[in-house]
Symmetry: C2
Subunit: 197 residues, 2 copies
């Protein structure tokens, strides 16, 4: 077996393992409400969101890096699961689980690629670089749209108020894409107007 062949086998093992992200279910549903969304299709959708909404970033970004970041940002959920933004959970415990998951999953890759992918994921998690701030903003946009499209979606279930949306979601979206939050905010206000949660 050649070295190149070994590299390919490692890469394919990682890609095959990644398939499991399609079975990790999120709290939000598809926009038609037919079923819960999984983290694989969510990752595709927000990469498309980033590609489409890049111009609304309030800071200089490398959109290609942002897209790569979003393609791998949820991979750790294969082992650590998805934690809904409005659910109570132990933040430190979840972060520890995700670190172990990142070790295992990126560890399937050849060493140089393991380090490259891990660095991008670490950067996303740290949420400090311009690319990561925009990626994190966009990651928060799509579930809001899904909830708006499905008559509030999971908001009633989690007893979410407009103030909570502002502090848990709005602040993060505004950090990287304020114009996008402005549009969502007016839709959210319109929805909560007649609906008491």
């Amino acid at each position: 077996m050649t070295t190149s062949n070994e590299r390919l086998q490692q890469q394919l093992a990682f890609l095959t393992e990644a398939d499991k992200l399609k079975s990790v279910l999120r709290a939000t549903t598809l926009c038609d409400g037919s079923r819960r969304e999984n983290s694989g299709e969510h990752s595709w959708h927000i990469a498309l969101y980033a590609m489409t909404l890049a111009e609304h970033s309030n800071r200089p970004i490398n959109i290609s890096r942002v897209i790569k970041m979003l393609l791998i940002h949820d991979i750790v959920e294969i082992d650590a699961g998805d934690v809904p933004v409005h659910a109570k959970h132990d933040v430190a415990e979840q972060e520890a689980k995700e670190q172990v998951a990142a070790d295992r999953l990126f560890g399937l890759l050849p060493d140089d690629q393991r380090d490259e992918f891990r660095a991008i994921w670490d950067e996303f998690e740290a949420a400090e670089s311009d690319d990561a701030i925009f990626a994190k903003s966009i990651d928060r946009v799509q579930p809001v749209i899904s909830n708006l499209e499905t008559n509030g979606g999971t908001w009633p279930e989690f007893n979410v108020t407009p103030e909570q949306l502002e502090s848990r979601v709005g602040v993060k979206v505004t950090r990287g894409a304020p114009a996008v939050w402005e549009v969502l905010q007016s839709r959210i206000r319109a929805w909560f107007g007649p609906h008491k949660v």
Copy 2:
């Protein structure tokens, strides 16, 4: 309403419509055989394939363009549906459907973005540029892995032979990523050895 706001509304309308790709089912299943794969999660997975396997391209590529291409390559299936590679179908009729779908779906975007996305999709369909040839190669790899992981998957259903895989899939993968096909080919031969289809 400002012009910038109108742009955003058009972009969000496109992104919301794109959600429907998660309900387009493909012939292949997830690697655990639990259900059929949808075209949204497939699009995520092959973008990740491209990102991971870029070094195996046999021609110079711009991987960021390839990834963007793969993120939108199946969008037209929202209107035109998915045609399995081993199923009989009228090629001209399907292409005509996809053109109408591309007009409608990319037409939801602001004009400049409509033209940009459409040009990338047209380039993918034409399969002539280096980026498109590699993107097309990678698009053919993931279903083979899925079938291998699920004991032949849909091959028995479609009476697929190793020769058909070589001519329908191998030729296309080899065109952009010959080393990847070599690895798959040996796995395919190993599978078909004991299995008569």
